[in-house]
Symmetry: C2
Amino acid sequence: MSNIRTVARLAGVSVATVSRALAKPDLVSPRTRKKVLAAVDRAGYKPNLMAVQFRSRRTRNLVVLVPTIANPFFSRVITGIQQRAREAGYQVLLCNTLGQEDIEREYARMVQNFQADGVIQLRAFDPFSNEADAEGAGDDSLLPMVNACEVMPDCSYPSVQLDNRAAARAMTDHLVRLGHQRIGLVKGPQRSPLTRDRIAGYREALEAADIPFDESLLCPGDFSLQSGHRAAGTLITRDNPPTAIFCENDEMAIGAMQRIKQAGLRVPEDISIAGFDDIAFAAYSDPSLTTIAQPAEEFGATAAQLLIDLLEQGPANAPAQVLLPYDLKVRDSTGPAPTSDS
Amino acid sequence: MSNIRTVARLAGVSVATVSRALAKPDLVSPRTRKKVLAAVDRAGYKPNLMAVQFRSRRTRNLVVLVPTIANPFFSRVITGIQQRAREAGYQVLLCNTLGQEDIEREYARMVQNFQADGVIQLRAFDPFSNEADAEGAGDDSLLPMVNACEVMPDCSYPSVQLDNRAAARAMTDHLVRLGHQRIGLVKGPQRSPLTRDRIAGYREALEAADIPFDESLLCPGDFSLQSGHRAAGTLITRDNPPTAIFCENDEMAIGAMQRIKQAGLRVPEDISIAGFDDIAFAAYSDPSLTTIAQPAEEFGATAAQLLIDLLEQGPANAPAQVLLPYDLKVRDSTGPAPTSDS
DNA sequence: GTGAAAGCGCTAACAC
DNA sequence: GTGTTAGCGCTTTCAC
């Protein structure tokens, strides 16, 4: 493998000049630059990026911490991140953490080990938190991180998120206007702020319509198809079942829909179903799913931009907190509440 | 930031000893090791991995080239890769190439730039190919790469794939046994070997049953929901429409199913539908989808293992070519051919 | 505009 | 077992 010295010899210049010709072309004369480029070509020279990064203390790598790449919503977010990063000359290292904190910490440490310049975290968890605590380190300078999608409460990092409360309120309101009074809610993971915000929005809409909040209409879920299926089973077999079910994501809504049809009920004539995220399959379920669309790629692009700003311009006084718009997509899975009660 | 010298001073040993204590603990005495570890802790020392990798000429990074992470099948494969890689002490750098050759080449170059030790390519395309040609380089030593899932014909790299021909044949045979004589086939991307192999299997099954091959029953597709929807539209509105449609992946099958129901036809009473891959949504479509299950995680784990072997033991005489088993999952979307021939 | 030379932080011979 | 030392390939002062 040829190195910078080979090229220098071939071009009849010093290694410093080769380095400059490649990294800062306007610092060398056009003639020299040409000579160097020719030599590079002749030697088949490829700079050893490990050496470059080691020496210049920058990797141009961004680490993305994603709980699961199997989630179609995240894959769109990631695509957005990658596009923006590429434009700015950064590479993206995707880390599938499976939501496990130790894996998350391990990957986040790549920044401390100089393997990456910054982190985009798609989950409400601070992978740097208890390290500093444990060390009793007075190191209060935050590491370069941006939090997107699911954002930590009182987040001291720049963040990008949806107004989940408003979106859930809008969806619940849509159901209320269709005449539904008993609306089931299939929740996401208990600890997620997303879950809490969406429940809050749901409650707000009920209050605004003077419908009493009934805790027993809430069902646990974990964003999987299976959990939606299970939750729907619980809800439709209870006394006085709901006439509509709002699921906190589309997978659970699709799972719920199957369970309802298996029970011989019709969607939306007997029960309306609503989801959240607008994944590709939402438009292809039967009936097609009413849901909240999120600008997923924009989440990614915005998060990448915030991180790049942070890296290249240093931390601002107050970290940016971006709120992105939602879009209520009314399709065929929601309809008027059945008139004959019970 | 503290470095190895700080630690050496603190522990009262040489830098070499610190290096050894960390990388090869059994080469130093327990006492020294303890002293070093204590110093590491006290200094809050984190090795600069850029320096380590630069110096040792190994990154312990594996690059995975994936056409699109939005594909649920790939996300399972990737999970398998990551698990095996982690066990062996490697990190995975996921590169979403969107099937674009220039992006693929760019990422593959990370190996040449010493940013990664090897590549796992999930698409039938050699990102290193025309580089060598262009340079006229006599460099016939293949770069460390493993090809998985969609494998290049006459592949000179180690590879892992399904016996796609046998699988397609099994599925077609399943439909033939149900009495179907006119079986539509929705193809994948034209250039993919997957597509060709599956068509070959389809033809074999027809031949075995003495059913003449009818080219007009083949429809183009690109593995997307939309393309399945479109293809089904074409097939059901033609003269003498097929009584079954075999789609080369599940997304297209789900798209096709929607189109068929929109036309007022029933699945499987009027038309049977079959898919390929067994993604999570396949079991949750209405009716649930008959499909070919692939051991996706195992694809990933096997590919990772082959690459690690290649890296740690050097190339074998003949590259390993692994064939993984398929599993025909008969669900509710396929049934007997309608008796009244129209 | 260019070259000489000093390292970045670490590992790996090689001595002892 | 441990220390000394010579770099890995590159960037970046600092002279000229």
